[in-house]
Subunit: 309 residues, 2 copies
DNA sequence: TTTATCCATGCGATTTGCGCAAGAGTTGGC
DNA sequence: GCCAACTCTTGCGCAAATCGCATGGATAAA
């Protein structure tokens, strides 16, 4: 047989109070319960821990040592469980997410800031990359979840829509088409087109949109970095089309943006998690913040400050 | 309600083995017991810890964290109780004793060495001093016990005889009385007497012995340090009488020792402990060594190596 | 399709835990 | 010197927890 936490806790209280009666009041059990618990502990250890006459309770040398050990054990239990409960409630721990660079740079800062104010002890880990890499992070478990476009379904992943992000046209400030409030993909097809790199999920969508209106010309230039793209547009090399969320990353160049229709093209950002896996509590808490922010199903407005509330 | 060690241990085994059946075999309980214990733990924490289909048992993120915490707690209990049992058996801990300088220097070294060989992890603390200080150490609890003469009984102390230590005469090598094999206190009374300091328990006995033979002269000199006394005797300033155990401390001077009778005077060294107090296990173990060394009631022989065996 | 394996659960027996109340011993006041 | 008050111990009975057995349901392997 081995000692139980119950016994150690009982002994601890009695030894600290130097009284069975006082300890019983403190633990809200009857005094006889403690008498038995201590007697059992003594029997199991084979030593007298408390020297008790009817007036005083006094620790023996063995009792002192047992007190120290009992304190360690009970405290390890108490603090361990407390820590665990904080983890389970999402108050502490690590929240690891993977997402596209635009989401990471534009959407997350305010949300993370709000989340950290709510749960200051959660470590937030953000890994950004292109869709393929982001999905890979989730599949490998590096990330608890992702916010990303998702090209192909997988039975190893679950996903649900989070936000719709509409493409807008991007033109040099002085471009003739900049007069109009609204452009079409056919309008863009008449101009040299500046595209993002072929790995980007955005590229898939622009290619598809042009194909839909029967335009097949290759891009005039490609840049994987959006700021570079912004610079090229500002320099008058051509026009582009990008999701609203990406626009703040265009950089300091003088460009203008316009509504883009015919057709309206959106990319959909989903929350992606591993199938049949429960999220770590801190990550679940972050997802709540994410979805509570009324982002759900909403479209990203043209301005960048849409999440300000 | 709070988690019990039973539950944590059960979860630990299941999580480590990733199998209820294997864990049950390891813990030698039925598989249903573990199934319940884990379910209870999950219910109390309000989280699913193990994702189990009929083929695999897999930890959730919460399960991983719980595993870490459970390991800490169970390990703290296991190692704490192990340490405690070692302390209680006297294998570890501290043995603190107080004793007279002669005992400390002459009697203890061999005993402590034997004891340390037997129990290498016990710290031995020896405090030496004169009787009054030694007794004080025991009363204050600084020392677990003492080996000392004990002048006055106290109801706060228990004591039992350990060893008898006979006084012997000490003379300059070339002294006329050195011819004889055996001297009397009357013989010594005819010579200048070199006494130990008035605080020493030895002094009480020499004074009493001289009084018994009707000699009342004051000592020719006093020295609290026995080596000093030895030097004085060697220099021919007079003679002395000291317990056999003290003689090895006389120092390098050329002195001789002789049996001393008329009357035979002994000091008795007792083991002194606090009344109504249990000894720390390590101290009790040392006392056993002390009393097992067949010292009990024996007289210190003239040579210093009497304990060599 | 059958078989084997694994976890969950109903059931009954046993053990454990608990409080009440009485007992025993000591202190302090009258 | 006796009694009242206080404290720990212990007998007893009840309630709850714990356990193992046997069974059921589900799935993977043969």
């Amino acid at each position: 047989m081995d000692t139980t936490l119950r016994q150690l806790t009982a002994y601890l209280a009695v030894a600290r109070e130097a009284s069975f009666t006082a300890a019983a009041a403190q633990l809200r059990v009857s005094q006889s319960t403690l008498s038995r618990a201590v007697a059992d502990l003594e029997r199991m250890l084979g030593v007298r821990l408390l020297e008790r006459d009817t007036r005083n309770v006094q620790l023996t040398a063995a009792g002192e040592e047992t007190l120290r050990v009992a304190e360690q054990i009970v405290d390890a239990h108490r603090s361990g469980m407390k820590e665990l409960r904080r983890y389970l409630s999402g108050e502490s721990g690590v929240m690891a997410m993977a997402t596209l660079p635009s989401v990471a740079a534009v959407l997350l800062p305010r949300l993370v800031s709000a989340f950290r104010r709510q749960r200051p002890e959660v470590t937030v880990r953000i890994m950004d990359g292109l869709e393929r890499a982001v999905i890979g992070r989730v599949l490998s478990g590096d990330a608890d979840f992702a916010v990303t476009t998702i090209g192909a379904a997988s039975d190893r992943l679950d996903h649900r829509p989070l936000i719709r992000d509409r493409f807008r046209a991007v033109l040099p400030e002085s471009h003739p088409l900049a007069d109009r409030d609204e452009l079409t993909w056919e309008d863009l097809a008449t101009e040299p087109f500046l595209a993002v790199g072929p790995q980007s999920s955005v590229r898939r969508l622009t290619d598809a949109a042009f194909a839909q209106v029967g335009a097949t010309a290759a891009p005039a230039a490609e840049a994987s970095n959006v700021a570079t793209l912004g610079g090229l547009v500002a320099a008058g090399l051509g026009v582009s089309a990008l999701p609203a969320l990406v626009l703040p990353l265009l950089g300091p160049g003088r460009v203008v943006q316009r509504d883009l229709v015919g057709p309206v093209v959106e990319r959909r950002l989903d929350v992606v998690v591993r199938a049949r896996r429960t999220l770590p509590p801190a990550a679940a808490a972050f997802l709540e913040v994410l979805e509570e922010a009324r982002v759900d199903g909403r479209e990203v407005p043209p301005g960048a400050s849409w999440i300000a509330r």
